[in-house]
Symmetry: C2
Subunit: 463 residues, 2 copies
């Protein structure tokens, strides 16, 4: 149904992008056939590196004419195969479009190209005393990828997710039209929310070529609390109580001894006070030390009231780095602990997390898969991993399928959703269809058809 | 093109809603032919009061079959004619669906019917130590109306707009399907953002029948600063500097002596320290007095550095009430000062507000219309009024048209948009089309067709 690319098409791509930016056949390295998770694999017919939006506009005009698919790729740090060109065609690599275009301090926005990495944004704005709050774990992800998945991260509980920090977008549509939506303005009730439709839709409705990010003043003071509990249950149950009784922390993470063990083995270093079973990790930030001290004191007392075994203040740069490095390495550490893995990224009403994690431990035994987990417990967003270890691949895939089925159905029964922040991509479509079959899927398909009638923008993803 | 309602249809409506909830012909009071602004007027063929979502589902099934339009109305406090049934048909009055369904403290959400008033929500949650942050000026508006316009209000600068506080929605679609989107969960990357498409779209894509609102813990301490400046220019220029140098205030409002004069005349009371030309009104909130004091001190010093003539602390209940009552009455006071009026609700990058207000004063003289204004200067969202006073209606409308044209074109040249929070409705369509003609309008029309192929949901609005 899609046109297979031939020499004439490659020639056209070289005209648009320059010879040095077009790769075909054996020139395409294996990494471009998969993402960080690696469970979905497919090679594109050509990989092109874009340098500006006009090239992308020309590409889409040509792709519309010829009817071949275009899949956008940032740093490839996704986990659901969204950037894998499962239908072939062109893989549009955005990593060269990595310029910071403008810091507009008076309007407190940063205008960037989509290929800028998260860590570069943080460095750039923080030295100016400004703050881009979203903080997904993977700092080498591109901002374009973050927007396309509406990435959440550690600070979402206080500051919201990526989509909450996008003031404006410039996109290239399926037919090559370059369109702006939103801008440097703070509010907008001007017609239908088109900007929102490019956030979290994984490049299936348009290609983000520029983003205007909201900034705020950098909180000058911050500290973390490492709070051990006797059991997972007690730790997780404390989270909603904390939120109810006191100010919202910057982060509210859960992890257990297993995650620490993997991370310590992987990084060759551990956290301080590492001899407990279950932990909450809290952060608070503020504009002055007195206010921060007050929040820390109140939070500590509440934790102790809720059964915490102790409360450790993590307030030096060194201690903060040690603990957040370990927390940040969980995904990679679990990956390094096994031969192959997959994950679910369910989001639940916070009240059901205790039961859901207990259920997960049962499923792990019943199905026969090692299932380590951790999570943004303040957001009700859990990351549960399914490790192959030394199972035969076929056995692993069979058990994985079974475990996914059981775990998603349980999540849905609690009012949970398929994904809190990692998206649907190719890997989670089946479960999204199960949850949203009927009208929601029908409406989504209708929207897709409006934006991409030829189904050439990242086909086979989300829908 | 639409079916005119006849006796058979009225009978059906009485079957669905009960005799006491259906009004036709002369039974329909004048107030149901217009909104708060009153510039757009049209009577429905029937007004029905809904008591539950199943009635609304049946209504839409029947309206789809017969092809007559349905326009949703909350408290009628809108300003752009969005709830005026310009194409006749049924006016669906939601004010009886005003129950608070559930306060779920652990998940910190409040589940409500759409007809609940803002002031009832505030009262209900604040006595539980919880906080629904959006704070539009009109407290007797319904939450359904707020969501349908993505209302902003005084605290948007710190806490965001209505849409940022909506966790989940239940809607009735054009064909009568009842659909849930979102839920009690905090994050969601599960497919296309359907929930967003019912926020700010003025009842043109679906009818909101239940909303799950995000809550947070109530900030226990707050204070305001009333900060007079020599000129509008100095006051407005200080706003972005304040935001850049310090923590974001809860509110950052601008007004001048004229607004105070109208408000004082209207309410019969004035603000303290009322003998200056231009003011900023700042608020700060916090979890403890020490932190609040710190913010107040830093903000005061910055204001003085930026040329403020003085800084008045407004920290008693009495002083707070006096000043916020006056601020809250601006719209009604200006309305009471004239015979008829209209307004624009532009949102601009903050940096252009000084120039835009200077431009407005010129336009007022050139066109010959009194044009008082005030605004959420921290958000770049201005409310500028065009007063008829004792002009002939025809002359007023002619000048209004001219002034709108000039003012919108200027706003667009600054990267501004038609509406920051009041919406498009029937009144501002022309200007939205001017700004977004081409692809954006085409995409919006495509979305409308997906959700409402018969164009029976609030037709003639937005698009």
């Amino acid at each position: 149904m899609y046109k297979k690319l031939d020499e004439k098409d490659f020639k056209k791509l070289r005209e648009i992008f320059g010879k040095e930016n077009v790769f075909v056949g054996n020139e395409i390295a294996e990494e471009y056939s998969k993402d960080e998770m690696g469970m979905i694999q497919a090679y594109p017919e050509a990989r092109v590196l874009a340098e500006d939006k006009y090239q992308i506009s020309k590409l889409m005009e040509y792709a519309s004419l010829m009817k071949f698919p275009v899949t956008v790729r940032g740093a490839g740090t996704g986990l659901v195969g969204a950037c894998v060109p499962t239908k072939g065609g062109v893989l549009l690599d955005m990593t060269k479009m990595n310029k910071i275009i403008e810091l507009d301090k008076e309007n407190t926005v940063l205008v960037v190209e989509p290929g800028v990495m998260l860590l570069d944004i943080a460095e750039y704005v923080e030295k100016e005393g400004l703050f881009y709050a979203p903080d997904p774990g993977e700092k080498t992800a591109t901002i374009g990828g973050n927007i396309s998945h509406n990435a959440g991260g550690m600070r979402a509980i206080k500051y919201g997710v990526t989509g909450d920090w996008i003031r404006g977008l410039e996109v290239v549509l399926a037919d090559g039209t370059i369109m702006k939506t939103g801008g440097k303005v703070v509010k907008n009730s001007t017609g239908y929310p088109l900007k929102q439709l490019f956030i979290g839709t994984e490049g299936t409705l348009g290609i983000i070529v520029e983003a205007t990010l909201k900034l705020t003043s950098l909180p000058k003071f911050s500290a973390s609390l490492l709070v051990p509990f006797e059991t997972t249950k007690e730790a997780v149950k404390a989270a909603p109580e904390l939120l109810l009784r006191h100010v919202t922390p910057t982060a509210l993470e859960y992890f257990d001894e297993t995650s620490i063990k993997y991370s310590s083995e992987f990084l060759g270093k551990s956290i301080p006070h590492n001899d407990y079973k279950a932990y909450l990790l809290l952060s608070y930030d503020g504009t002055n030390q007195a206010a921060l001290n007050h929040d820390i004191e109140v939070a500590s007392q509440i934790c102790l009231d809720l059964g915490a075994l102790d409360v450790y203040l993590i307030d030096t740069q060194e201690r903060k780095k040690s603990i957040w490095d370990v927390r940040g390495a969980f995904l990679e550490a679990i990956k390094a602990s096994t031969t192959e893995m997959d994950e679910i990224d369910v989001v639940l009403p916070r009240t059901h997390i205790v039961d859901y994690l207990a259920f997960a431990r049962e499923v792990s035994k019943d199905v026969g898969l090692r299932m380590p987990y951790f999570g943004h417990v303040g957001d009700g967003n859990l990351h549960i991993y399914f490790c192959r270890d030394d199972l035969e691949r076929e056995v692993f895939l069979e058990r994985l399928d079974k475990a996914f089925d059981i775990m998603y159905d349980k999540a849905f029964s609690y009012g949970g959703l398929v994904s809190g922040e990692h998206g649907i991509g190719a890997a989670k479509k089946k479960y999204m269809y199960r949850l949203l079959e009927g009208k929601p899927i029908e409406l989504m398909k209708g929207i897709k058809k409006v934006f991409d009638p030829l189904n050439i923008l990242n086909p086979d993803k989300v829908l």
